[in-house]
């Protein structure tokens, strides 16, 4: 991973800022909310205890009743016209109570307005069977018909039935069961509306006709000869008590509720018996785009959907917090709405007397202010930190780019200097006062030391030979003078041996100074154009004379190899390579020379059979005073191949050595004529 990516990653740490901000806002919000919840809970508790004095007003509960057996009579705000359609009812379709019917669901709604109760029944029926005139109430023999019965009673009195059956769609008569059987009841208005796939019944019944308990039974038959299948709104033999808004408790609730709050009272089964007040719905909609809001939703603790705070359309409060209050535990919760930005804090407290739960007080209050505050703060926080993060990331990225470019330039320059074995100019950033500057300066000093060391190695041989020449001259001149002195036989022998030794020393010194002489010559050489092939031909002939126990082959397909340079020096180079090849081969071996034209000039090869080169020496062997020989020839200081390399590079070429099958090949590449 490069420096740029690393710093970019580090810059991601600035994302901690919005996170910390959000944490703070969340804390603030939840603190505010819990404060409000506590306050609300206190109010709710007070209300619940004050409700106990209206104990009688709460519907009595024997505790055995199933809530499913009860029907809810919705308070109606306006009077529906009796025409068999639900759309003029001031209720939502969600308020309809669904029951299972023979051919499909049956929907029932009851409403109360003034002295009348309204009934709406919607039946899915594949095949509507109308009643005969005689059989309109009697449901026996072959006189069966589709019908709706409204069962009502006021225990301990017996159930009474109001039957609705149609001879034809339209306004119909309804029949009320009396002690003498069914009789038409003219005070009930009813309308039977046929619709595709069933029928709809709407009726207005004076409240006086009805008892406290209500139930609806729908009988569905497919032909007049068969008894219908009954579906009923209650499970047992008799219907349960109808639940309804109680005007007395409504009045109490209205008197107790505070502005901006909604107060719901439920009975022990959760049926809503009173409603008062409205949540302040004037919401201060928070500013911010959908994007910011989505981030907000991710960050802030989610509440329940705000719609669940609304009073239940079917009349029975079934939210968890209400049920848990009905089981005796005060519970707080909150709701929020994405659309309006509205949040609702809600508390449900049980109303209890003598250990019995009468019902629950549900108190709700909007928290627009809190949410808007945090929401807006959050949006600004997110915007600011987002900008900060981007700016920081951009700055870090630029900084990293700058840093890594400096380092890269330094490394490139250092590598180049290393390749040239010399420090041409100051490395980049050498004057910088930071760590990169230090690095650059250390590099410089390392490279300089390396260069000095290389120079030292290079000049060592010539310096040494130069320094040794004078003492050697003392030795040889003394020996030569000694020869003129009278010596006995042994003395002559010793003198001769000493002279031989001095002579050998002189040759070694000459070899050592050769490299510096070649360098000197190279600097002053005047390149001349010549035919390398002709020169090689003639040189190889000379080698055949010199090395009589080796064979030489020369492989060259070129007619002419025009070269620019110093033929003498190139021959000297070849001398070194051939000398090397001869030393590493055995008597009778063939040393193969070759000259080929390549893309970048000429390749001159000298190949000899012999032991392979040790791999680690391959690059070092052309350096000064590096020898691979193991005592075979004592006069080798490892300067021959160094001289060869000097000459090759002086001609703008290079020299390499490779192992081949059972031998070694040295390859000198020389650039084409025009570039020399």
């Amino acid at each position: 991973m490069n420096l740029k990516r690393q710093l970019l990653l580090v810059s991601l740490l600035t994302l901690m800022l919005p996170w910390a901000g959000c944490e703070f806002i969340r804390e603030t919000e939840s603190a505010l909310r819990s404060g409000q919840q506590q306050m609300l809970a206190g109010t709710a508790r007070a209300l619940a205890s004050s409700m106990t004095q209206y104990q009688e007003e709460f519907p009595a509960s024997d505790g055995t009743l199933e809530a499913g057996d009860q029907l809810y009579i919705h308070p109606l705000a306006s009077r529906p016209s009796i025409d068999g359609y639900f759309d003029d009812w001031p209720l939502e379709r969600e308020s309809l109570r669904a029951m299972r019917g023979a051919d499909g669901p049956v929907h029932v709604a009851l409403g109360a307005l003034g002295p009348a109760v309204y009934l709406y029944v919607e039946v899915v029926d594949r095949d509507v069977v109308y009643a005969q005139s005689q059989s309109i109430v009697l449901d026996k023999g072959s006189q069966h018909a589709d019908r709706v019965n409204l069962i009502n009673s006021s225990p301990p009195y017996l159930d009474e039935v109001i039957a609705f059956a149609a001879e034809a769609p339209g306004r119909i008569l309804s029949y009320k069961q009396t002690a003498y059987g069914f009789a038409p009841e003219p005070t009930i208005t009813a309308y039977w509306q046929d619709v595709p796939g069933g029928y709809q019944l709407e009726a207005r019944i004076p409240s006086a006709l009805l008892g406290t308990h209500l139930g609806v039974v729908v009988s569905n038959t497919d032909d007049a000869a068969t008894p219908g299948t009954r579906s009923s709104s209650f499970e047992g033999r008799s219907p349960g008590p109808a639940a309804r808004r109680l005007p007395e408790l409504d009045a109490v609730a209205t008197s107790l509720v505070q502005p901006g709050m909604r107060l719901l009272l439920t009975d022990a089964a959760g049926w809503r018996v009173a409603v008062a007040g409205e949540i302040d719905s004037e919401s201060m909609r928070a500013s911010g785009s959908g994007f910011v809001r989505r981030i907000y939703d991710l960050l802030v603790e989610p509440g329940k959907e705000a719609a669940f705070a609304e009073p239940d359309p079917q009349g029975r409060e079934q939210q968890t917090y209400v049920s848990s209050a009905l089981s005796g535990r005060e519970t707080a919760t909150w709701f929020r709405s994405d659309e309006s930005g509205k949040a609702v804090v809600a508390v449900a407290a049980p109303v209890q007397t003598d250990g019995a739960t009468l019902g629950a007080v549900v108190l709700q209050q909007g928290t627009d202010a809190i949410l808007s505050l945090t929401n807006e703060g959050l949006a600004r926080l997110i915007n600011l930190t987002l900008i900060t993060t981007i700016v920081v990331a951009a700055v870090l990225l630029g900084y990293a780019t700058w840093l890594s470019r400096r380092i890269r330039r330094l490394s490139i320059a250092a590598e180049a200097a290393l390749e040239n074995e010399s420090l041409q100019s100051a490395l980049p950033s050498a004057l910088a006062e930071d760590e990169i500057g230090d690095l650059s300066r250390s590099f410089s000093s390392v490279l300089k030391q390396l260069g000095d060391y290389n120079d030292y190695l290079r000049s060592l041989a010539s310096k040494l030979s130069h320094e040794l020449r004078t003492p050697l001259a003392i030795v040889t001149s003394s020996l030569e003078n000694l020869e003129h002195e009278p010596l006995n036989e042994a003395g002559v022998g010793y003198t001769n041996r000493a002279r031989e030794g001095a002579d050998r020393l002189r040759r070694i010194l000459a070899a050592m100074s050769e490299a510096s002489r070649v360098e000197e010559l190279m600097a002053n050489v005047e390149p001349e154009g010549f035919d390398l092939k002709a020169v090689l031909d003639s040189t190889i002939t000379a080698y055949r004379d010199v090395y009589k126990d080796r064979s030489f082959s020369f492989d060259c397909r070129l007619d002419k190899a025009a070269t620019l340079g110093s033929p003498e020096l190139l021959i000297q180079m070849l001398d070194k390579l051939v000398d090397n090849a001869v030393d590493f081969s055995d008597d009778g071996d063939t040393i193969r020379l070759g000259l080929t034209a390549t893309d970048d000039g000429y390749a001159l090869t000298v190949e000899n059979p012999g032991p392979p080169l040790p791999e680690k020496m391959r690059t070092q062997m052309f350096d000064s005073m590096v020898s691979m020989r193991s005592g075979k020839n004592t006069q080798h200081l490892g300067l021959g191949l160094y001289v060869a390399r000097l000459i090759a590079s002086g001609h703008g070429g290079s020299i390499e050595a490779h192992n081949t099958d059972g031998g070694v090949v040295f390859e000198v590449t020389l650039p084409p004529t025009e570039t020399v």
């Binding site: 130069h466 020449r469 004078t470 050697l472 001259a473 003392i474 040889t476 001149s477 003394s478 030569e480 003078n481 003129h484 002189r506 010194l509 000459a510 100074s513 050769e514 510096s516 002489r517 070649v518 000197e520 010559l521 002053n524 002709a534 020169v535 003639s538 040189t539 190889i540 002939t541 000379a542 080698y543 033929p567 003498e568 021959i571 000297q572």
Partner: protein, 230 residues
């Protein structure tokens, strides 16, 4: 009368050895270890030949300086540099200053003696009248072995002793290749390959200065050189 040789050499051992050797050959020897005493002595009397080391103790280029002053005093005083410095640059500088020969300390005493003898011989021959018996003529080339002079198209070519012997060795048998060893022997010097190459180059240049079309010395690569004569 015995010839007088002055030797200026800071290394006492070498100085004494050479002094002994010269005396053995019958020369009168004045030995000096630095430039100043040598110059003082030369004030009163110039020797017949001077052997100078370039490096005189702290006087790094003292030999060159001495050579220049001596040459200023006498145009034909034979001067030989005998030094440990074997670089091409030093050799060229020394010869430019008017030295008759530039020898490295590798040279053996017998070789040195031979050269000194040859220099004296040349000096003597200069003072004698011309004699044709010592002349070798090869086309435009005339070699006077007595005076050790060489003329090309009747113009004298200013060669050092070593160069003279190299040309002499090649031109004696035109068309024959002389290898480096043979040339070295002829020059009575121990020279390495590169020195021979530089000598030949210098000789060519001196001839080219007289005749721009000079091409009588041919390089036979890998073998040596030969004199071409038409």
């Amino acid at each position: 009368m015995a010839k007088r040789i002055a030797i200026v050499e800071d290394e006492a051992a070498i100085r004494d050895n050479y002094t002994a050797a010269f005396r053995r050959e019958g020369y009168v020897v004045d030995a000096f270890e630095a430039r100043a005493p040598a110059l003082d002595a030369f004030e009163s009397r110039l020797p017949d030949l001077v052997v100078i080391d370039i490096n005189l103790k702290d006087d790094v280029e003292g030999g060159f300086e001495l050579c220049r002053e001596l040459r200023a005093r006498s145009a034909d005083l034979p001067i030989i540099f005998l030094t440990a410095r074997d670089s091409e640059f030093d050799a060229v500088s020394g010869l430019r200053l008017g030295a008759d020969d530039y020898l490295t300390k590798d040279i053996s005493l017998p070789h040195l003696m031979a050269r000194i003898a040859a220099l004296f011989r040349r000096l003597d021959a200069m003072q004698k009248p011309h004699g044709n018996e010592s002349r070798i003529t090869r086309g435009d080339l005339v070699i006077d072995t007595e005076r050790m002079t060489i003329h090309w198209r009747d113009i004298a070519v200013g060669l050092t002793l070593t160069e003279f012997w190299l040309v002499h060795a090649m031109a004696r048998y035109p068309g024959h290749v002389k290898n480096r060893q043979q040339l070295m022997d002829a020059a009575q010097a121990v020279l390495d390959d590169n020195t021979i190459t530089s000598h030949i180059k210098r000789i060519r240049r001196k001839f080219l200065a007289i005749d721009a079309d000079f091409d009588a010395i041919e390089t036979v690569y890998g073998m040596g050189y030969r004199w071409l004569s038409d």
